[in-house]
Symmetry: C2
Subunit: 517 residues, 2 copies
Amino acid sequence: MSRATRRRERQERREKASHIPRLPWRNLTNPYPPIEVLSADQLEAIHLASLRVLSEIGMKVLGADARQRLAAAGAEVDDTDRMVRCDPAMVEECMALAPSSFVLKAPNPARSITVGGNHVNFGPVGGPSFVSDLDRGRRAGTFEEMCDFLKLLQSLDIIHIGGTGSFAPLDLPADTRHLDRYYAAATLHDKIWGADLLGGYRARDGLEMQCIVHGIDYEDLPNHVVTLGNINTNSPRQLDGNMSAGLTVLALAGQPVVVTPFTLLGAMAPTTIAGALTQQNAEALFGMMLCQVIRPGTPVVYGGFTSNVDMKSGAPAFGTPEYVKATQAGAQLARRYNVPFRASSTNASNVVDAQAAYESEMSIWASVMGHTNLVFHAGGWLEGGLTASFEKLIIDAEMLQMMAEYLEPVIVNEDTLALDAIAEVAPGGHFFGATHTLARFETAFYEPIVSDWQNFESWQDNGSLTATQRANTVWKQLLAEYQPPPVDPGIREALEAFVTRRKAELNAGPDLLDYDM
Amino acid sequence: MSRATRRRERQERREKASHIPRLPWRNLTNPYPPIEVLSADQLEAIHLASLRVLSEIGMKVLGADARQRLAAAGAEVDDTDRMVRCDPAMVEECMALAPSSFVLKAPNPARSITVGGNHVNFGPVGGPSFVSDLDRGRRAGTFEEMCDFLKLLQSLDIIHIGGTGSFAPLDLPADTRHLDRYYAAATLHDKIWGADLLGGYRARDGLEMQCIVHGIDYEDLPNHVVTLGNINTNSPRQLDGNMSAGLTVLALAGQPVVVTPFTLLGAMAPTTIAGALTQQNAEALFGMMLCQVIRPGTPVVYGGFTSNVDMKSGAPAFGTPEYVKATQAGAQLARRYNVPFRASSTNASNVVDAQAAYESEMSIWASVMGHTNLVFHAGGWLEGGLTASFEKLIIDAEMLQMMAEYLEPVIVNEDTLALDAIAEVAPGGHFFGATHTLARFETAFYEPIVSDWQNFESWQDNGSLTATQRANTVWKQLLAEYQPPPVDPGIREALEAFVTRRKAELNAGPDLLDYDM
């Protein structure tokens, strides 16, 4: 028996000993037609209005390099006010170059995903500076805890994308922490992780490290789709230099760019859904077009992130009815341009309570049933995205697993129609002991991670725990049982050497790629 | 100014003084196509298998009156084992007599509802013996608290059906408490309430009191659809005498009967969804057919209540992936027979936590997007239906309101596309002060009942309350501000006299209608 086989068997035994059931890895597809909230006429009206935004009103582009590239491709560029206007033909010609779907290769080939069509992929929360759990409350994120979060993401197969740490490790220096995050991602999980597009050098460091992981040359990257990056336009109608620099690094390397305007109705966009979608669409088209200008055929993803604000305070609201409609309309717009769509699972609760769950469920249903290909922030998002929560990650995994099970088709055949079983059980009797039941009982139903179906008395005897309290136990057990993925020692060494060298270089002085602002 | 006008104005002022926003009454329709989890072939296979259950395996009917009626209509009836078998032609001919939709008249005509097509109506939890709130925990239901619950249902316009008290008033005598419940329903809210079908006399008392409320003669009831009743078959394949007696009273009076097999996979039905649906369909068809045998053209509703059990304990599970699929498949079957469909919003949590919310959301989305016409148990259901929760009622109202807002179509026109507003706000600026925003800000977005969108610090300053804790405050405030509907003094007097007379009669001895078992 080889060492690898023994290791696998040991791991299987350990996993069996765990009492936390989980769905195995699944490349999800949604077999049902997408829910569409816009009529064909409405869709076209928004499309045309957004083309008018791009041709008549324009986008402000802070990065000189991006402006030059756009001017060379035929856009009307004013370097004084840094406004860029493009005619509809330019937009349509560029969008026609974007692929409708692509396969994103993970370090472990079994964790690769397809982005496009009716494929659905879930990614974890990204962006927060805070982390929280029931034991220690809300606090600034640290590298150690960020690594714990990554370990949990490796343990939850329902989350397709591992990422580079779901919250900022504020105990590490800001200029070099992206290197520590990339290293953690490359060694703690075997799933996909993205490049930080906040500035060209961070993006390039990510690509260099992906080259080490995948064993390819930087110049050969366009032949291997191995990562992705997300940019947010600085809504309304502005693309800042850091973002266009990051976008440019990825596009030059042929790696997918997700372009996501963050357009809150009444704040960064008009109060009407149609108006906010018009603006979102203009900005998303602009970013995706820029990718095609830089390198025709670059994979791009249309990102939708349109929600409303609280009318009283101006605070962002998520998982609202407006959010659901904007998300499903956004997916329709992406389909119009034949590119994949990205949305999010979000909520605005400050605590892992019923609100956190119902706002997240609204987001998940909206995204999945609208045929979203990448559902970001679907594991651990709390507090409008300012905090990553360990308990919320477990509750989210449960909600995502339930959706995944829902997407499994009903099987109808002679065996499942079960006429023999129905005839076998007497009127008013029960099926617990029926042959048909005994043959299927163990695996017939979805087995939850955290849902408690005990009767009231048993639940009370076991401590009257809420789902959130049970989630606290679950993540600790998963963490205790974490198994790192195999990482080739040569790759690990090369990654370490790269990180050490780049830290020294960055500590020696600023490192802005020339297309930074 | 008339007394009625003054009263209305006073009421409007009071409502304005309340700080709890609520959606106004709305007759909801779902403008999107239903989600269908079964192919046409699969649907037909289940249909045909269930016809074989009815013709070959048969239903046990405990009520002699029901058996006689079925035999007279052509069924094969064995009075020894009380089994009834009917051939497919009989089933199909009967089902062709059922109307595809009907209008159910409420005491207040403005609260009438349409049952069928793409209409969606929500009803409160029914059935529990327990009640709970955060202050007093879980306890046996009393009449006083049952009345409080009815008052809240009157205060929440998103709940279309008022009902007869969502939990049993265990402090009242079992034989006559249905009279107190009917009286409470008729005086505390002006919405629809149903008849208790557990035995013929309870059903008949309900109809008599509806006649008083609506000012019609009992014999004239078939010309006025003013109430409804639900029966559960005693799955598998059994209809007990109480249920058929109640069904018979309603059908003779031309009032709608909802026939709902309660078929838990692995317990009262096969473990497979296809098998459980086959059995559900056979039982539902049988009950609806019996209504047509009793009185051709009786409005009937196909009720689906198929879920799974916990594999470990056999305890019922709700809001699961299996539940979602079975619900949407049930709606497809109902559409095949061109009758309305009833489902439920359910969960198996013992506490108003994240689980209660996500399981309920799965149920609500499943029901509404599958084109369910009556969503029962959608307000206050907890603990697998054993408890009615005051806080859950408020959380449910929020979730239902969010769905209702989602169903409102997106408006796309020159005004909402907002190109002027987009041009008005500078790149990187904000829309808070834009003309377009100021004109719409107050009413642009859905305003929640219980969701809290404050930032973390403000939320903490306000006591770090969970949604469930806030719901506790909300229901108390709504109760304090409750306004009873106007009830004509003559009607009130007649209802009181009826209740007094019937209590005396029932206390004097048993009152079983002759078609009771």
